[in-house]
């Protein structure tokens, strides 16, 4: 079957098998390996991407379900060669160690920051509940999200 969709602002269309998962489409067909597979069962969040602006676990979405949709992956976060505030936050606050959960974690955080501009610690912990990190113990991730929120508020206020 055929899917037509937009990935990180670029339209594309491909012939695919109906059973192909979105994460495998992104990685194997579109060549975007920044989105990782961690569990294949929606439990770890490593594969989180934005589907029409909302965070989804791309390991349990069929590529066919993304037909006509707009997908944003970690590769689409930076604009004009400049990191997105969430990327800056993760770097600045040491929000990553091995980096494997990071793309999915950042996409889930972007989804949160699209909904709220000044999330508190509990709110962030709650919003990231679908994303596992085994390295950081989460504290620096929370600071990273707060850093990004502050930066985005400052930019929006200007």
């Amino acid at each position: 079957m055929r899917v037509n969709l937009t990935i990180n602002g670029q339209p594309r269309g491909d012939e695919i098998e109906p059973r192909l998962l979105l994460v495998h489409y992104l990685r194997e067909v579109a060549g975007l390996t920044g989105t990782h597979v961690g569990c294949e069962t929606t439990l770890c969040g490593a594969c989180t991407v934005l589907l029409d602006g909302k965070a989804v676990k791309s390991c349990t979405v069929l590529a066919a379900q993304a037909d006509g949709a707009s997908v944003t992956t970690v590769e689409g976060l930076a604009k004009d060669g400049k990191f997105h505030p969430i990327q800056e936050g993760f770097w600045e606050e040491h929000g990553l160690q091995c980096g494997y959960c990071t793309p999915g974690m950042m996409m889930a955080a972007v989804d949160l920051l699209n909904r709220t501009t000044n999330p508190g610690e509990d709110e962030i912990r709650h919003a990231l509940e679908g994303n596992l990190c085994r390295c950081t113990g989460y504290q620096h991730i929370i600071k990273a999200v707060q850093y990004a929120a502050e930066k985005m508020r400052a930019t929006a206020g200007r």
Binding site: V37, T41, L77, T102, G137
Partner: protein, 777 residues
């Protein structure tokens, strides 16, 4: 050096991060080679069964399939997986099961196809005729007469035994005021790195060379093992650890699939990739802990501990991986903790069961030891009605006693245990907290305060302490390139720890250059000199020392050359601001680049000096480092639900001097998270028949953000005398301190109920039962 460090000790953002946050890092599954085939492994659903036959005909003719192999196809063609630790019985460890399967998930057959979907389709068509056998998952039952035997050739399930006897322990037991006896369990855990294991092999037929990309902590050691199993010369095998998504000890190993995929690539003449699924990861990547300990603790009525006697039952699982039987040794040797306990003895019985093999998991033997020591201190306090702080103080090794030879024969390098304890007590305001706890209890609120003062063994160490083929030394090459930029090639293989940053900080300061002028390279055996790897919190203390040794050699050469150019003695020179300058007068300087030009022979001022700026060093430690600290947790337990709420978590860690404060905090946070996870949540569960119950992340409770506290960190600084940086290591400290700390806190909250001990994980259900049982009584 008179120059003040610019990068060492400063808050430096990691050099690794841009590629990781942009999604451009290359993990194994991101490597793309043309014509790559995908392997899928068929695994045993049975914990113990005889294989009568395997019918692969349908799979072989399925679409896209290139090959299907079973254990029979490999017989005599390839070696087994090695265990380098000494043991009485080391079973043959095949790449695919031969005749029998011994744990759920054991590899039985492999399918290679043009993509993963087709390979899985074909694997589903394989028909294995099993004869299920009785299985045993409880290591104590596995030792009993009549238990199902895993490896018939050994006649029993005993893998090996370790015995450290000491008659002084029995004398202490005879003359003690009291002897406290208890049994504690360090339950089986799954390391769960977010990136599962993964392997890509490429055989180069014309040159007879093999390249293996694998998610590992030990590329060089793995190369040696792989070459041996496949009977290839080591100089024809290249192992690359690309970006590695966490290891935690689980990737300090050599696995069946690494050899199998390499074998398949050689057989088929095409690249072959295998990526572990999470379900496989939970079933077939090494587990950690799984020790039962029976303790006898003779004490005086004032709380002085006179000796420690332990019997360990250690669950090896079905086969022995690289270091499986070596891990419990650290639990025994370190179980006296921070305390001047005059005598100890232990017996360790290591047992085969129908489970995945255990091996190193963050802390590897020392979390178990700290758990023993710190539960012992709280047991003594509870038994004698003393404050847990007082019992610890009474037994601490005093700071004047370092270097301190323990009764287990280890030499602790340096320490000040009271300082860390006092700092932690001050941060939580201990007397006030105890008063609040008492007040809360009057209102039916159960608050607990838990203390753990830990010490651990790191920077291992003299090679004699380790099994053959896993030495304790580490290597580094430091090269100053012709443009005076620096390349550091390290034998360690970081996978999240951040030594691309730490080593750059050190080298930049040493040569007075910018941190951007330093590149740190690791994880490729074709580029980096033979090294050992990243484990046991050794990256900085051992690997970093090798870097500094090479730095020193280059400094010496550069100074020698500069001294002729500047007409000043070498020992009067220093490196600052991209110059070689007089220590006494920084204005008297020549550009570093001019000295480098000379060194490369373009204007060599010293006749006969070997051109170039390249130095390789190997650091063999003379002893181990012993990081320590005190963690204090304050929790509240809801008697109606058994849910634990975190009120405070304070960690005072002493890892010696700190090179990179941001990275140290990251290591401590992550360590605490994994330690709390053992205390409260995680447990690999096999049912009594050996079936794996926790085979998904729905069942295995790796903690999420809301399940962990906010950490408050502080440090004391007691440098190690054993390396030039004075560092001790910090990768595992958090894990080691936090498990007993959290358990002590929860059990402290339950003290009014008369509860002395509950085995981990202290999940709400167990705590709810404790309240319910107390009500009944």
């Amino acid at each position: 050096m008179a120059v003040i460090p610019k990068f060492v000790g400063a808050r430096i953002k990691r050099r690794e991060d841009p590629r990781l946050i942009s999604g451009t890092a290359t993990y194994v599954d991101d490597v793309r080679l043309p014509d790559t085939l995908t392997a899928v492994v068929l695994r045993s659903p049975h914990p113990h069964a005889r294989i009568n036959s395997i019918d692969v005909a349908a799979a072989r003719s399925a679409p896209g399939v290139v090959a299907v192999l079973t254990g029979e196809d490999l017989k005599g063609k390839v070696g087994g997986i090695p265990c380098v630790a000494p043991a009485e019985h080391i079973p043959f460890h095949p790449l695919l099961a031969q005749g029998k399967v011994r744990f759920v998930g054991e590899s039985v057959a492999v399918v290679v196809a043009s993509d993963a979907y087709l390979a899985q389709d074909a694997a589903d068509l394989i028909d294995v005729d099993y004869d299920p056998l009785d299985a045993v998952s409880d290591p104590e039952k596995a030792l009993a007469d009549g238990a199902p035997i895993l490896h018939e050739e050994f006649g029993a399930n005993l893998a090996t035994r370790a015995l450290i006897p000491n008659p002084a322990v029995d004398e202490a037991i005879a003359k003690a005021d009291r002897v406290i006896k208890f049994r504690i369990v360090n339950q089986r855990l799954a390391p769960v790195p977010m990136e599962t294991r993964g392997v890509l092999a490429q055989w180069h037929q014309a040159s007879g060379q093999l390249t293996l990309w694998t998610s590992t902590q030990i590329p060089h050691l793995l190369r040696s093992a792989l070459a041996a199993v496949l009977s290839l010369p080591e100089n024809r095998v290249r192992v690359i650890a690309p970006e590695v998504g966490g290891g935690f000890g689980a990737k300090l190993n050599f696995y069946r699939e690494e050899a199998l995929v390499a074998y398949l690539s050689r057989m088929l003449g095409r690249p072959v990739k295998w990526i572990e699924r999470r379900r496989e990861n939970l079933a077939t990547t090494t587990h950690g802990r799984d020790q039962i300990t029976y303790l006898e603790v003779p004490v005086k009525n004032d709380g002085t501990v006179l000796a420690l006697k332990a019997k360990f039952i250690c669950d090896m699982g079905a086969y022995l991986q690289l270091l499986t039987p070596a891990i419990p040794g650290f639990s025994g040797l370190m179980m006296t903790g921070c305390y001047k306990i005059p005598a100890m003895s232990f017996e360790q019985v290591m047992v085969f069961t129908n489970k995945m093999a255990t091996d190193a998991y963050r802390g590897a033997g020392r979390p178990e030891a700290a758990y023993i020591a710190e539960r012992t201190m709280d047991m003594v306090a509870a038994e004698l009605g003393l404050d847990p702080v007082e019992v610890r103080r009474r037994n601490f090794i005093p700071k004047e006693a370092f270097p301190y030879a323990t009764c287990a024969g280890l030499v602790y390098d340096s320490g000040d245990y009271n300082a860390a304890l006092n700092k932690a007590l001050e941060i939580v305001d201990y007397p006030k907290m105890r008063a609040e706890q008492a007040e809360a209890l009057k209102h039916g609120r159960y608050i607990g305060i838990g203390i753990a003062s830990y010490v651990e063994i790191c920077g291992i160490g003299p090679s004699a302490m380790l099994p053959p083929k896993v030495p304790g030394w580490e290597s580094a090459t430091v090269r100053m390139e012709p443009d005076s930029r620096i390349t550091v090639l390290t034998g360690i293989s970081p996978h999240g720890q951040g030594q691309e940053t730490t080593f750059a900080q050190m080298a930049a300061d040493a040569f007075g250059v910018d941190i951007d002028d330093v590149a740190v390279v690791h994880g490729d055996t074709a580029i980096v000199q033979y090294g050992v790897g990243t484990f046991g919190s050794r990256g900085l203390s051992v690997g970093g020392t090798a870097v500094m040794m090479s730095v020193g050699k280059l400094q010496e050469k550069l100074k020698k050359i500069a001294s002729t150019m500047m007409e000043a003695p070498p020992d009067q020179l220093t490196f600052t601001n991209r110059t070689v300058a007089l220590k006494s007068d920084a204005a008297k300087a020549i550009p570093l680049q001019a000295v480098v030009d000379a060194a490369y022979g373009w204007k060599m001022p010293i006749p006969g000096m070997e051109p170039g700026l390249d130095a390789t060093s190997v650091f063999e430690p003379t002893g181990c480092t012993f990081p320590f600290g005190t963690h204090i947790a304050v929790v509240e337990i809801d008697p109606d639900t058994g849910v634990v709420t975190f009120l405070r978590y304070v960690a005072v860690d002493d890892c010696g001097n700190i090179i990179s404060p941001l990275l140290v905090a990251g290591q401590v946070h992550g360590g605490i998270a994994q330690g709390i996870a053992q205390a409260l949540y995680e447990e690999v569960v096999y049912d009594e028949n050996g079936q794996l119950v926790t085979a998904t992340l729905m069942d295995y409770a790796a903690p999420r953000a809301r399940m962990l506290p906010h950490y408050e960190l502080a440090h004391t600084v007691t440098p190690s005398p054993l390396n030039p940086m004075g560092v001790k290591g910090v990768g595992e400290a958090g894990t080691i301190g936090s498990t007993p700390c959290m358990v002590n806190a929860v059990l402290d909250a339950l003290k009014p109920l008369g509860v002395r001990h509950i085995d981990m994980p202290l999940r709400p259900e167990k705590l709810w039962r404790a309240f319910k049982d107390a009500k009944k009584a």
